[in-house]
């Protein structure tokens, strides 16, 4: 169970990346499946080549950023539809990843990974110690992302997703903000891929398949639990969502569901979440919430939707 929390916290970095594109930029970026494996492939290859694990992980992160950059360029300069731009990069990356790895699976067993200290001499992965460490790492990144989104540049990025015409009229190139957002997002995804490879002890060509759904599910679950967008709550919600998602998967496996059915379960979960706004009782819930907010606005209070 604690192992699931470990994984949830690490996957939280990927979920933060998905949050940045899907929610902040309003850009459904499917590069994720490819850039995750890319990060893992570059990191694992680096470690196996005798590189410093920290440097290898950084290279994996950078590789992810470049993948995002490619998708961004395809969309902005090439005028290609966002979904298609992401899929094109993702498919191309499959070949690239195989080239980098040389074969479909790279084992990192007994290699000096970043997690080596948590495996030897005493296995600390899946204990409260590792949970604390990964929680600290996730916290650093979610606070950093929140800080960035509140800088001048970050506000421009948020506005790009919310009202592109307005932010252009305020002097911002939405091409540049989209490219920056996609690069940052896929850097987080690449970093996550590198860390997961080290955590589980191998990189695999298929490890990123369907990951975008896990990311989306995390964002949706998290924002259902924590609806506030004040301070760091929005980004914290995403990481929390990732942990809850992994725990749900774990429980599903414990009660005897086939691991191969997990992708179907994840997809159904996301579909339900996406369809729920159409349900009558959910609509009533939001109507009540809006009414409360408008009343608060009328009272002259400060309100955030």
């Amino acid at each position: 169970m604690l192992g699931s929390i470990d994984l949830g916290l690490i996957y939280g970095l990927m979920a933060l990346g998905v949050y940045l594109t899907f929610r902040v930029l309003d850009f459904p970026d499917l590069t994720v499946d490819g850039s995750f494996t890319l990060g893992a492939a570059v990191t694992a290859s680096g470690i196996l080549a005798g590189q410093d694990p920290l440097l290898s992980t950084a290279m994996g992160t950078l590789a992810g950023a470049i993948a995002g950059l490619v998708t961004g360029l395809l969309h902005t300069k090439g005028g290609i539809n966002p979904l298609l731009a992401g899929i094109l990069t993702q498919i191309a990356l499959y070949s690239v990843n195989l080239r980098i790895m040389g074969k479909a699976n790279l084992s990192l067993l007994r290699e000096p990974t970043l997690m080596a200290g948590l495996q030897q001499p005493v296995r600390l992965l899946g204990t409260w110690t590792s949970v604390a460490i990964f929680a600290a790492v996730a916290l650093v990144f979610l606070v950093a992302l929140d800080w960035f989104l509140n800088t001048d540049l970050g506000l421009a990025l948020q506005a790009t997703g919310d009202n592109p015409r307005m932010i252009q009229a305020q002097g911002v190139s939405i091409h540049n903000t989209k490219i920056l957002g996609l690069s940052l997002s896929n850097a987080l995804v690449g970093l996550c891929g590198g860390l997961i490879a080290q955590y589980q002890g191998y990189a695999d060509i298929g490890m990123g398949i369907g990951l975008i759904i896990a990311g989306l599910a995390s964002v949706i679950i998290g924002q259902t639990i924590i609806t506030s967008r004040r301070f760091v709550f929005a980004t914290a919600a995403v990481v929390l969502g990732s942990v809850v998602y992994l725990l749900v998967i774990q429980v599903a496996l414990l009660i005897g569901l086939d691991p191969n059915d997990m992708k179907l379960m994840s997809a159904i979960l996301v579909v339900v979440a996406l369809l729920s706004p159409r349900l009558a009782f959910v609509q009533r819930f939001w109507a009540r919430r809006r009414k409360r907010m408008m009343a608060a606005v009328a009272e002259g209070e400060e309100v955030r939707a």
Binding site: N150, D152, N163, R165, I167, G171, M294, V297, E302
Partner: protein
């Protein structure tokens, strides 16, 4: 301050839907000029503003702001010189951003955006002072999402944002048309105040002839992509809505005759 020369724009060229939106339009504004533009639908008023703002590319002709050729600049580059308010109150603000975040985005217009905090206490003090001028009480709730404001409040906020950082040219595209009469009156008053206070060179499109006559020092009437009537100074002060309607009827009669001939 603003120099438009021989501007021409054709939409859907070489198709059955070809439409000459602007036909050899020239216009020169001195610093501090406040020009109102009227004309029927499809006269080219909004097209003129959109061309100046860089939203569309001109087929021929040139646009210069304060001596800088902006004819081929994209929107975000022209934004350094231009403040704009759109007709749609939703268009001018970021709904999920707070009032202070919206103002911070406007304050950064024309400057490089880096990793400094968007909203600081120093900026908050500026925003509060500016918002107080609107007399809507918005200075007391700067952390409210702009999306929760009424149309009139949002348009007042958009106007404040457009005038921040003293743009060389202020472009107003029927910015009171979507508001109820009381709110439209308020935004009109705020517009006159802002232009006066910052000595802004302004182009304002309106459908309201009364508004076109009472605001500004010059009035332009457009029809079928051309400027057909240009009133300034004393002449404009004396003009009445009836004069404008009469002028418009004459032009329309002429174009109807050519159409039927």
């Amino acid at each position: 301050m603003l120099e438009v020369t021989g501007l021409r724009k054709v939409f859907f060229p070489d198709t059955p839907n070809e439409k000459i939106a602007l036909d050899n339009v020239s216009l020169a504004l001195d610093p501090g000029d406040f020009v109102t533009i009227i004309g029927s639908n499809g006269a080219g008023k909004s097209t003129l503003l959109n061309l100046i703002a860089g939203e569309f590319r001109a087929d021929s002709g040139g646009i210069a702001i304060d001596g800088v050729n902006v004819t081929r600049m994209p929107v975000h580059k022209v934004a350094r010189y231009v403040g704009r308010v759109f007709q749609d109150p939703m268009a001018g603000t970021v709904p999920h951003g707070t009032i202070e975040q919206n103002l911070a985005m406007a304050l950064a217009r024309g400057r490089a955006r880096g990793l400094r905090m968007g909203v600081t206490n120093a900026k908050r003090a500026i925003f509060a002072r500016e918002l107080a001028n609107l007399e809507l009480g918005l200075e007391h709730r700067m952390r409210t999402d702009a999306g929760l404001l009424s149309g009139g409040q949002r348009q007042a906020l958009s106007l404040l944002m457009a005038t921040m950082g003293s743009p060389r040219v202020l472009l107003l595209d029927e910015h009171t048309a979507a508001l109820d009469p009381a709110r439209a009156e308020l935004v009109t008053r705020l517009t006159a105040q802002a232009v006066e206070r910052h000595h802004l060179t302004t182009l304002m499109v309106t459908h309201n002839m009364h508004q076109a006559l009472t605001l500004g020092n010059r009035l332009i009437m457009m029809h079928e992509g051309r400027i057909i009537y240009d009133l300034a100074g004393e002449e404009k002060k004396r003009a009445t809505v009836e004069d404008l309607l009469h002028q418009f009827e004459q032009i329309k009669a002429v174009s109807d005759r050519t159409l039927l001939a």
